[in-house]
Point group: C2
């Protein structure tokens, strides 16, 4: 099987590629496993820490450039579309967000449609499609009310992928992902980046800033869990999904205070002292506009799972960091 | 005031233009009425029955052509964006629907944003943003589940207009319109076209075909009511709307049988005999996938109303036809 991962040298792209290389095969629709022959990581940047493997190739370019896309999608069986400009960046630079998050996806979908092979595609959406005044519990049927351009672009992406799938142009699947933490590396331009910093930095003996109140609720997934969901979304038979192509994922509902308490249990009180609390009204407002209590019966019926607790999530991060 | 109506030589565009010419002024935000100086009807076609008035100009061109849009939007204060490829046509010709309904809107929004004058814009969406398995009553918070490319394009349009408004690039307002009947003229490529034919043709002594069962429920607005809603949506103060830019409209919930009974009351049993019942499974399926029982508290709180009953609606159609 020939695989394309767009945004492939990003956080999830690299971890997904590594997991695919480790597995060596992928069983679609409960059928016999098929060999992972080739993985193309397409991204605007080369990226650091990309797995080194003869089956893997990094191609750099712009996701909204049609000729480039025609080249990289040629002969591809499976596509994970992860290329994106994250929330704060898409809000600060409207043109960039539209170009990558919307026109990039539209160019990709059109390219795949023109090729006429209806490949399988997993699209990474997120709970930023919600915002503003939300019901106490968000579920599979909650109306999309994005309050950021990133959230709007993801919501539009969900609708586009679902319609291209309904028309049979692609075999599309949309994952609506919780905030993924703990993210390795450096803080990025996502408003949610501190959810990772307040754990990652103290574990490495470094100071971190928490811009929100301790009682701020949050809806999380570990990177490992997100990667497993990416695999499951790709391998499910189309019949299992029918016309319901958007899969809001189960996640872990916790609070910043509980995250910090878990950090203390795992790494001791000195780690916690490295967190400086510096309230930022803008970030507080953005983060509070995302849902934190979510029911995801559809995903659960398909076999998707949430992380059990935040302690496990921190331990997995420590293991992954040690392995690299 | 300088006004642009895209899709302006279409059904609603012409009626809206006529109403604006008759009014002569428009009072925005409850302020003093301002003069309607100029109306540009922009459309792919010249159209028939366009009002003749020195204040009115018809410009033909393609809504997805950026240079054309830059020209027609120059100095414009108010835009009603009605240009669209209707449901069955957008389903049959995916490229055309995407080009007009999606890229056309995106080009228009970008053109207005680049001009930096943040004009007021009313966008015509519809209840085709819903489909499939719906709650018994659809309300303001029902999730968008389009089951047609037209419905997907309208849903995407709602999200785009709302985000451009949130960013302050335009002062956007979205009307989610019920099916509009009785439509004058000839049947078109909308799956809903028969809702008009089964009344219009018998009233003119002509035969009509009804492709759905008598018990099929329907959610309707008269053209007059739709035009009044278009005016109200434009004149409401931005403060009245805040961040809630999508306005699902109240309508008249009835059935095909009740429509035919009203026809009989108004025009006698001979009119009804002109209707031939020829079930079409595809049209039945499409029409049944639209909501018919709708609660629209937000619109009602803003002053939008539904037609009182279908008899009134038929009488208004007879009056309008006689006037032309
Ligand atoms: N991490 C999260 O918390 C989270 C939550 C919900 C959804 N998502 C979505 O999951 C996907 C992966 O997330 P991630 O955390 O790995 O993000 P990431 O920022 O690490 O990766 C995205 C990649 O896209 C690339 N990219 C940006 N512009 C591009 C362009 N023009 N052409 C090609 N590539 C371009 C970036 O260089 C980056 O490597 C994204 O679509 C993201 O929106 C992430
Ligand atoms: N009539 C209804 O029942 C109904 C219901 C819900 C929503 N709407 C929406 O309301 C709006 C007006 O509806 P209508 O019934 O007057 O439709 P209509 O088809 O009579 O008018 C649409 C106009 O758009 C024009 N158009 C098509 N492609 C174009 C292009 N490339 N460039 C410029 N113009 C182009 C057409 O020529 C037509 O005159 C549409 O956006 C429609 O989707 C209508």
């Amino acid at each position: 099987m020939r695989i394309l991962i767009t945004g492939g040298t990003g956080f999830i792209g690299k971890q997904l590629a590594q997991r695919l290389l480790d597995l060596g095969t992928l069983a679609l629709d409960g059928q016999a496993p098929r060999t992972v022959e080739r993985i193309v990581l397409f991204d605007a940047f080369d990226g650091e820490g990309v797995p080194s493997d003869p089956r893997l190739e990094v191609v750099t370019g712009d996701i909204s450039d049609a000729p480039t896309l025609a080249r990289i999608t040629d002969g591809i069986d499976l596509v994970w579309h992860l290329a994106a400009v994250v929330s704060s960046a898409a809000e600060a630079d409207f043109d960039l967000g539209m170009q990558v998050n919307l026109h990039g996806l539209m160019t990709l979908l059109e390219t795949l449609r023109q090729q006429g092979r209806a490949p399988r595609l997993v699209y990474a959406s997120g709970f930023a499609v919600f915002g503003g005044v939300l019901p106490h519990v968000v579920n599979d049927d909650t109306a999309l009310t994005p309050q950021s351009s990133y959230g709007m672009q993801k919501a539009v992406g969900e609708l586009l992928v679902a319609d291209y799938a309904r028309k049979g142009f692609i075999d599309g699947r949309v994952l609506r992902l919780p905030t993924i933490a703990v993210r390795p590396g450096k803080p990025n331009k996502a408003a949610s980046t501190f959810f990772s910093s307040i754990i990652r930095e103290p574990l490495a003996g470094l100071p971190a800033v928490c811009p929100v109140r301790p009682d701020t609720p949050v809806y999380l997934s570990s990177p490992r869990r997100a990667v497993e969901s990416m695999l499951l979304a790709m391998t499910l038979a189309p019949e299992a999904l029918g016309n319901q192509r958007v899969i809001p994922l189960p996640g872990l509902t916790t609070t910043v205070a509980d995250m910090v308490a878990a950090l203390e249990r795992v790494a001791g009180p000195d780690a916690v002292k490295l967190i400086r609390w510096e309230p930022d009204a803008t970030i507080q407002r953005i983060v509070e506009s995302w849902p934190s209590r979510v029911e995801a019966p559809y995903a659960r019926s398909l076999g998707f799972k949430a992380d059990p607790d935040f302690d496990t999530l921190i331990r997995a991060h420590i293991e992954d960091t040690a392995a690299h």
